[in-house]
């Protein structure tokens, strides 16, 4: 391995970690979503700095081509991240559904209150009813 590729590996890993940390610092990415990305970034950095760890791990696990181990771990990480997103999406959909229900209940309750107010004697039939003013 030439010094150039050695440096390239380290720089790429550092850039990835810097991007993750920066997003977390700006609170664009919450820690629990960043965990797997961070794990991946740190692994990449370790392998970039000490390439022999990769060969050592590959021999330990009986993987003939060390790069295959990299692909395997990378795919595994991506799989975990996607799974986590799927679960998160489901949770968010559930919350959204809840909000939609709440919105419908409140809409109905307002309507009931307004019509009760309109029906009350001694009150001007105000424009509070807002006919056709659908909440969409």
């Amino acid at each position: 391995m030439s010094p150039a590729t050695y440096i390239l590996g380290i720089v790429a890993a550092l850039l990835a970690i810097a991007a993750i940390v920066e997003l977390m610092r700006r609170r664009t990415l919450r820690e629990r979503h960043a965990v797997w990305w961070l794990v991946g970034g740190i692994l990449a950095l370790i392998i970039a700095v000490f390439p022999q760890t990769l060969t050592w791990a590959a021999r330990l696990l009986g993987v003939v081509a060390p790069t295959n181990l990299v692909f395997f771990v990378a795919i595994g990480l991506l799989f975990l991240v996607s799974l986590q997103y799927g679960a998160e999406l489901t949770r968010i959909e559930d919350k959204m559904r809840h909000l939609a229900e709440q919105s419908a209940y409140h809409d109905d309750r307002l309507r009931q209150l307004e019509s009760a107010q309109d029906d009350a004697p001694g009150r001007a039939a105000g424009d509070a009813a807002g006919d056709g003013d659908e909440a969409r």
């Binding site: 559904r97 229900e101 919105s103 419908a104 209940y105 809409d107 056709g132 909440a135 969409r136």
Partner: protein, 260 residues
């Protein structure tokens, strides 16, 4: 969900033996862009069961279904966007629970169910917790052929085994739910695709609720058309099968105490 881990009990609920008063019946009509038929459906329901409250769940319609239903005399809950029949029905069951309705009857907004059958369905609730208006039980004239019919048969057989009843039509949208079922469904009504039919029945059967069927006649749809495409039917069976399997894999939901 906010009401996770609520106190639950599988014992029959206190008011189990008292027949429901007509004013305790909530007729829920999930409606998505049914402006062509919803008014007639609402009027039919109000005529057939004048003491019950007719609640239209407008599932994010964009064609004025809500206004038309309201003008026809229904109480309308407008969901801000489309949740599907399962989501709409769960909204209805929660409304029933929060407003003290002991019985919920689901009627489709396309006009294929005859509101005059509502009383028969509710009448059977003394012996059962859920009464399905079956299109295939004796005397019914509803005609479905081909793969879709087979899909329905397989599903009916599978759900019937769980419910320990011979069922003929588990995908019917015409159903009455008694107090125990209302308590259960207000707590957990599946909002996924086909959740309102197959999965809901599986959850109910596994919670120990009794499921019965009553034969009903189907009327021609007043608007819209049914889907009979073979590919669609196959996809439908596959998705229903997955829904069924997932429902049987889920943890049993005991019946929520009605006072909760």
């Amino acid at each position: 969900m906010a009401d996770h881990g609520m106190r639950v009990s599988t014992a029959p609920v206190e008011f189990g033996d008292v027949p429901p008063a007509p004013s305790e019946v909530l007729v829920v009509v999930p409606a998505l862009n049914e402006s062509g038929s919803v008014a007639a459906v609402v009027r039919g329901i109000r005529e057939a069961v004048p003491d019950a409250l007719c609640l239209v769940i407008d599932d994010g319609s964009t064609d004025g279904t809500a206004e038309i239903a309201r003008a026809a005399g229904a109480r309308v809950l407008s969901l801000p966007f489309n949740l599907g029949v399962g989501g709409a029905m769960r909204t209805g069951f929660r409304f029933a629970r929060d407003h003290g309705y002991r019985v919920v009857v689901q009627v489709d907004a396309d006009g294929q169910h005859d509101p005059r059958d509502i009383a028969r369905l509710v009448g059977r609730l003394g012996d059962a917790d859920i009464v399905i208006g079956s299109r295939f039980a004796g005397g019914a004239s509803y005609d479905v052929r081909g793969p879709r019919r087979w899909a329905m048969r397989v599903l009916a057989w599978a759900v019937g085994r769980l419910a320990r009843r011979r069922l003929t039509d588990v995908t019917s949208g015409f159903k009455a739910a008694g107090p125990r079922a209302v308590a259960l469904f207000a707590h957990t009504f599946p909002a996924e695709y086909l959740g309102d039919t197959v999965e809901a029945l599986v959850i109910a059967a596994r919670a120990g609720l009794q499921v019965e069927e009553v034969a009903v006649d189907m009327r021609e749809r007043q608007a819209g058309r049914p889907s009979h495409h073979p590919v669609r039917a196959t996809v439908y069976l596959l998705r229903a099968g997955i829904a069924f399997l997932l429902a049987t894999l889920q943890p049993r939901v005991p019946i929520e105490s009605a006072s909760a």
